[in-house]
């Protein structure tokens, strides 16, 4: 094995726990998350990484793109439209308004119902530790959009869980 390939494998191994959490925060399902991580690793092994790229950030980007591809494919199969950009906060409150549930169950439901474009930015920054600039590069949106989506995502979770004063 060449030194660079060895380094590539070590970098993947080092990044994988982070990517696994990231994938889990996107999928909310361990089996799907592990499948996503596997696909991400396969993609890195097949295509390599751009020169000077941080492996974790690169894997986050690939993982997120694969996840979006999966959502789109699922939407095509089911005939539903993938709603990646225009989800509204009402989705959350409607989903979890059943009342009487425990706070943790509410939090879980709120996270579950978080629209994809809010979930991925929160996963990148809160779970992945990305800066706003890094997140904007992965998501290909302006930094201002990252900021507003983060705030919206947290507000949706807080309001739906019942933390809001």
């Amino acid at each position: 094995m060449t030194a660079s390939k060895n380094d590539l494998h070590l970098a993947i191994l080092d990044a994988t726990p982070h990517v696994r959490r990231f994938a889990f925060s996107l999928c909310r399902n361990a089996v799907d998350a592990d499948d996503l991580v596997q696909s991400t690793i396969e993609r890195v092994l097949a295509k390599g990484t751009p020169e000077g790229t941080d492996m974790k950030r690169w894997m986050f980007r690939l993982c997120r793109n694969l996840w979006i591809d999966g959502l789109r494919a699922k939407a095509v199969r089911t005939g539903a439209q993938p709603d990646l950009e225009l989800a509204t906060p009402d989705t959350v409150s409607a989903e979890i308004e059943a009342g009487g549930r425990m706070m943790l169950a509410k939090a879980e439901a709120a996270i579950e119902a978080l629209p994809p474009n809010y979930r991925d930015v929160l996963a990148l920054v809160a779970v992945g530790g990305s800066s706003y600039k890094e997140a904007s590069e992965v998501l290909e949106v302006p930094v201002g959009t990252v900021m507003s989506r983060l705030a919206r995502a947290r507000a949706m979770l807080a309001d739906a869980t019942g933390y809001a004063a």
Binding site: F22, R28, M103, V127, L150, A151, A155, T161
Partner: protein
């Protein structure tokens, strides 16, 4: 979009410029409503991080495990049956970046928020906790954390009583303790972890009133915050609580045993 939410959210991410940060902290100290909103957003953030970390406890799928073993084998030679899995947790980073602010916005939000969240033995950051979240070793709270065995009531002054519930090893390799504080006006639960020679507040949650506070008394949504303490424990605890004899040995050793 609420621009205050954006500011508070950026504050949680430590992404505000210094001037804006200072200005917001002044506002937090002056406005219980804004402090409560910060607490709500921080709790939501903590929930999200804690949920993501749940996968660390779930065994990997066979496919992923085999794939990683193959990579490891190629990189290191003979295969190992375990993949190293001790990343620096996002939760730890969150807490460190925001000191004791954590999910309850306590210290950074100032004296008022601190009191509302922890109406117990730590009436002000200057009286038991420094502005960086370190618990002052000579304070009653510091002494309790350092030397009191679990389930031993400890008078903390002003009619307050503390009681460590249990001690545990953290996933970062240190030692932590969970304690309840009973005060005339309510009960609080806190988690503190060793930081060098000191103890650092990781989270504090107001878990219940001693009686009806009346309509004019400000209270945060912290009864709900108890759930976040549980979520923190899920993430932070490396193993079961320490047995009494192990805890005693650590107390006697000044918490210096590995």
């Amino acid at each position: 979009m609420n621009s205050m939410d954006e500011k508070l959210s950026a504050y949680l991410d430590n992404m505000l410029p210094e001037e804006e940060r200072a200005s917001l902290e002044s506002l937090l100290a002056a406005s219980p409503e804004i402090a409560a909103r910060l607490e709500a957003l921080a709790l939501a953030n903590t929930d999200f991080i804690a949920r993501a970390a749940e996968i660390d406890r779930i065994p990997m799928s066979d496919g992923l495990r085999i794939q990683l073993e193959s990579l490891r084998s190629a990189a290191h030679g003979p295969p190992s049956n375990v993949t190293a899995f001790r990343p620096r947790s996002a939760l730890s980073r969150f807490f460190n970046d925001h000191r004791a602010v954590a999910a309850c916005a306590a210290v950074a939000a100032g004296f008022f928020a601190w009191q509302s969240v922890v109406p117990g033995p730590v009436p002000a950051p200057s009286d038991g906790i420094d502005p960086g979240g370190l618990i002052i070793a000579e304070s009653p709270l510091g002494r309790m954390l350092a030397a009191s065995p679990s389930e031993t009531p400890v008078p903390l002054g002003d009619g307050q009583e503390g009681r460590v519930r249990f001690s545990f090893a953290s996933s970062d390799g240190g030692w932590c303790r969970l304690a309840d504080i009973e005060a005339p006006d309510g009960t609080s639960r806190l988690v503190a972890c060793q930081s060098g020679e000191d103890w650092r507040m990781m989270m504090a949650a107001y878990t219940g009133p001693a009686g009806d506070p009346g309509p004019d008394v400000y209270r945060t949504a912290s009864a709900q915050a108890a759930a976040s303490v549980e979520a923190l424990l899920d993430t932070l605890m490396a193993d079961a609580p320490l047995a009494p004899e192990d805890e005693e040995a650590l107390i006697n050793a000044g918490w210096n045993q590995p």
